[in-house]
């Protein structure tokens, strides 16, 4: 029913207006990340810091990228682990 109402009122989610908006949102995730590679570099450094509290990782083998499928963009991180720490340190501890 709501779907029907939405349709007469021009709000169905498949309207070309909504499709346009969604496509833009996705493409801009890539554009903005591509225009400032510093963003991903800085994210990498922060990730290394956080993860090092829990495990020893291979920093050179670390790979962070954006991966897009049909209707979403995912942040994909491949982080080779060398060793787990027996005792972990958290900020709050």
């Amino acid at each position: 029913m709501l779907d029907f109402i939405n349709r007469i009122f021009g709000r169905e989610s498949s309207s070309s207006r909504n499709v346009a908006k969604e496509r833009l949102r996705l493409v801009l995730v890539h554009d903005r990340a591509g225009v400032s590679p510093e963003l991903l570099e800085s994210l990498k450094a922060d990730l290394i810091n956080v993860i090092s509290n829990y495990m020893e990782i291979d920093e050179d083998g670390l790979d962070v990228s954006l991966d897009s499928s049909e209707n979403q963009v995912a942040l994909v991180a491949n982080i080779p682990v060398k060793k787990m720490k027996r005792k972990f340190e958290t900020e709050s501890a």
Partner: protein
């Protein structure tokens, strides 16, 4: 000392030149001293849009290369004695001018005017770099289409890198009927995506084409919606607080939609 405002877009054909001419004429008719600079070297257009094409003797490249003073190259508009145009060179290309020269020129010109408006060429190459070099502020023009908004986003990023922070947005060729039917992105959609301040919305209007055919500016036509939109933008640039024109769908369905909470 005046303000130098660059009018840019990334994507071509979205209305930079039309916007420059109309804001220039609008500001001049409101009493400001205005100089328009056509920075689209090789594709000179602002002169014909303003109906001043028969009066060009010197051009921008003559000035930056030291062939003549900037005052000598300026063309005085026939309608307003406070409106001037610095035409682009038509036979050279954009490498005939560099950003440092543009900065010097803008700094010199702005002493004589309240507003210096620069009509930027499409693209992000040297023509764009030249056009923004001497600017204090930027206006980004887009249309409600995916490609134009995407390019606007890129341009906003580049402007911020060049320290032209907080550019303002003009959405041109808006068709509210289409938005209403779910066939065009709305102003809210675009603002949400680009996250910048809105300076104004200009509707799609045949009178823009009719005026341009005659070398006239629609901003001077009191019976046009687009003219009204440009006049509102002019007042906002001059510091007045003017509410956004309501071309929005306050029709029956729009109201109903708000009542039943679908908006």
């Amino acid at each position: 000392m005046g303000e130098v405002i660059v009018i840019t877009s990334g994507k071509g054909g979205v209305g930079k030149t039309t916007t420059s001419a109309n804001l220039g004429a609008g500001l001049a008719s409101a009493g400001s001293r205005v100089c328009l600079i056509d920075a689209d070297i090789g594709l000179r257009n602002l002169d014909v849009v303003m109906g001043l094409e028969n009066r060009i003797v010197y051009d921008l490249v003559d000035v930056t290369s030291g062939n003549c003073s900037f005052r000598k190259a300026l063309i005085k508009d026939k309608r307003f004695d406070k409106l001037f145009l610095m035409p682009a060179a038509q036979t050279k290309d954009k490498t005939a001018v560099n950003p440092a020269q543009m900065e010097v020129l803008c700094n010199e010109i702005k002493d004589d005017f309240d507003y210096v408006l620069i009509d930027c060429p499409a693209g992000i190459e040297q023509g764009f770099r030249n056009a923004i070099a001497g600017a204090d502020q930027a206006i980004v023009v887009t249309t409600p289409e995916v490609s134009a908004v995407r390019d606007a986003d890129r341009i906003i990023g580049l402007l911020e890198k060049e320290d032209l922070r907080e550019p303002k947005l003009i959405v041109n060729r808006m068709r509210h009927q289409m938005v209403k039917h779910g066939d065009m992105m709305s102003i809210d959609d675009i603002i949400e995506i680009l996250a910048i301040d809105l300076l104004g919305v200009v509707p799609e209007d045949e009178l823009v084409v009719v005026s341009t055919n005659r070398g006239e500016m629609v901003v001077l036509n009191n019976n046009s919606k687009s003219g009204q939109a440009y006049r509102n933008i002019v007042r906002r640039i001059r510091g007045e607080d003017v509410p956004m024109m309501s071309l929005e769908d306050s029709g029956l369905f729009g109201k109903l939609r708000r009542i039943i909470g679908l908006k």
